[in-house]
Amino acid sequence: MSRKSKNWKNRKIIHIDMDSFFASIEIRDNPKLKDKPVAVGGKATERGVLTTCNYLAREYGLHSAMSSKKATQLCKDVIILPVDIAKYRRVSAEIFKIFKCYSKKIEPVSIDEAFIDVSDSKYCGCDPEEMARQIRLCIKKDFGLTASAGISSNKLIAKICSDWRKPDNQFCVYDYDISNFIRDVSLKSIPGIGRVNFEKCKNLNMLTCKNMYEQSRSDLVNLFGSYGNILFDLIRGVDNREVKTDRVRKSVSVEDTFLKDLKDINSCLEKISLLYTKLINRCESSNINTGNIKEIFIKIKFNDFEVISRQKKSKCLHIREFENLFNMNVMTITKPIRLLGLGFKICQDEEMSQIDIFNR
């Protein structure tokens, strides 16, 4: 046992996060783009948004989910490339093969992000830091791409760590140091605290985890509902979530940003019909079981970028359900609609689920 392995009394979890994955692949495949601000996303003229951009573009204030139009305003030289998701998936699948060399317990978070539980791995003298270093080196050598890694004894801290020294670096927090480390972490980094909750925290003068320590468990439940219970543990660096190897799909959705804003109910209903077909096709092509639906939802983004989503309990995926949900919530179009989305949540009750006859 190496000296370093004494630092690990509990689990050893590595979080790998690829650095500006889509943009890096494009730059690798076209070296002329190197040293230029590059983004991947939809065209500015077609109301596209950025999926990612390289670090040079980030210096201009560009970020993912920003509209391409705004991106070109902020950085007129930015090169926006179309999304080639099939290519990124191929690369991603190859990179995941590297992870499998180190552990069988891999939880993909997205196409460019994964947790690896290396608690039982004997490689590198059982040292997770060395394993992360090797994984990153392999990715760089084999694919010409860089990744950042976070190493700790739970998923929360590992994820925060991978962001700590980005890009092309890694950061580790040992068990005994977690409570010290988490104190000064911004609440923004805690899963579940999005824009709205962070505003709420800011109004209460709480910006970092330690600012929240005075709140009791019941205070947090009063403030954030049942999530407050989880939050109480997270801000103390306590996270017992397992690295789940069989990632269960929780929801399926499709959405579309329109070339021209929608200004009346009928044109919205027409688009809902098109989106519905897209949703069904997606379920069929991806073999998604539609037999265990918990609820359906719609998402509406207005031209001032306000986003609302509405959901209702439903067990069936019928177009009328979506139309009703839309009609019940949108009586009149008060402002033009820029984007519509449809989707459904799948029942996560692992105790019982009905097997589909055509789709086992």
Partner: protein, 368 residues
């Protein structure tokens, strides 16, 4: 102009025609029944644009005319007027006065010319069908039709040909029912009749007490299906699309078989069902050594258990099922005992009755 009906006869007709007209219609006229008075015959029609149900009734009238009346309202009014033998409709320009004795109700009408009658279907080549055969087709399979499934072709009853006989198949993706009837047919038969049409046909058959003297004829085209049951006519659009290959999901071979007395099984499931989880309705069956353990529970920590005698000599196995799916099959399967043929916890199981050679039922398990 006045039209006089026998109240009870009219009520009986309206009870079977009105349900097609839905209360919440996008077009107001679809909430109405169309009356076409021709001499002493009155033809009444309802429609939801997919299905049209109509029938004729005798009346005393002063001449020919057409009008429409709100279906549900009329049904309620006639239900309230049953003490009166006769009911009189006085048809005015934009309203109809309904009078019985000294009671009078005026209802506004919509012009019959706006009523969306479906295109007439060729009724010359109608094929007659025995009441019992038709009843069995519906009874044995329709319970497994899907309801508002995204796979629209599952929301109906599929009729196709097998060795010159009509085969009926329904599946909602969780269970499947197949029945081979005694009715001869062309080899190219392959249609899907929408769920609502099947329910309407079933209602009218029930109204006639599934009488074997019923005169039933049917016909179909590429788009439509028409059936006459005595003096009722139901026209329905067919569901477009291909029905999935159901033979592929009927297990060809199974590894073990549980034989259970139907009555015992039914009683046991009925007891267990009192505490079943209302959302998932799961019951776990564990057969072992000629005995079967049944258990279900719900989120209120209520647990139901039972142990029944069965014939089973396979390995111990636990399989979960939706209890309603089992009960539905028990309700339609013929014979004293049921053979439950299984493979494993994730594969469809086959249910057969000992006196039901023409029916096959498949139920997919639940992961419990």
């Amino acid at each position: 102009m006045r039209v006089i009906y026998n109240t009870k006869d009219l009520l009986d007709k309206i009870k079977n025609i009105a349900p097609t007209a839905e209360a919440k219609q996008t077009l107001m006229i679809l909430g109405n029944l169309a009356f076409n008075i021709n001499g002493n015959s009155s033809h009444i029609t309802s429609s939801d644009l997919e299905i049209e149900v109509s029938s004729s009734i005798e009346c005393d009238s002063e001449g020919d005319c057409t009008f429409t009346l709100p279906a549900r309202k009329l049904l309620e009014i006639l239900n309230a007027l049953t003490d009166h033998e006769k009911v009189t409709f006085t048809v005015l320009e934009s309203k109809v006065d309904i009078t019985a004795g000294k009671s009078k109700i005026s209802l506004p009408t919509l012009p019959a010319s706006d009523f969306p009658f479906m295109d007439p279907i060729d009724t010359e080549n109608m094929t007659s069908v025995d009441n019992n055969d038709l009843t069995k087709i519906i009874h044995k399979t329709s319970f497994a039709m899907a309801y508002q499934d995204a796979r629209h072709f599952l929301n109906g009853l599929h009729l196709c040909a097998q060795n010159g006989k009509i085969v009926s198949v329904c599946t909602d993706g969780h269970r499947l029912a197949k029945y081979v009837s005694d009715i001869n047919c062309n080899d190219d038969l392959s249609i899907i009749i929408p769920r609502k049409a099947i329910l309407e046909i079933n209602r009218i058959l029930t109204y006639f007490n599934n009488n074997s003297d019923n005169l039933i004829t049917y016909s179909y085209s590429n788009q439509n299906f028409v059936i006459h049951i005595n003096d009722f006519r139901i026209i329905s659009k067919l569901i477009e699309g291909n029905y999935p290959n159901f033979n592929k999901v009927i297990p060809e071979s199974t590894s073990a078989e549980i034989t259970v007395d139907k009555k015992t099984f039914k009683t046991s499931l009925n007891i267990i069902s009192k505490v079943v989880n209302q959302q998932y309705k799961g019951v776990k069956l564990t057969p072992q050594n000629n005995s079967m353990h049944l258990i279900s529970s719900n989120t209120d920590s209520e647990i139901g258990e039972d142990q029944i005698d069965v014939k089973y000599d396979g390995e111990e196995i636990s399989i979960g099922f939706n209890i309603s799916y089992l009960q539905d099959v028990i309700d339609v399967i013929d014979g004293d005992s049921i053979h439950i043929c299984i493979n494993d916890q994730n594969s469809g199981c086959l249910l057969k009755g000992n006196d039901d050679p023409n029916s096959i039922f498949v139920i997919m398990p639940m992961r419990v």
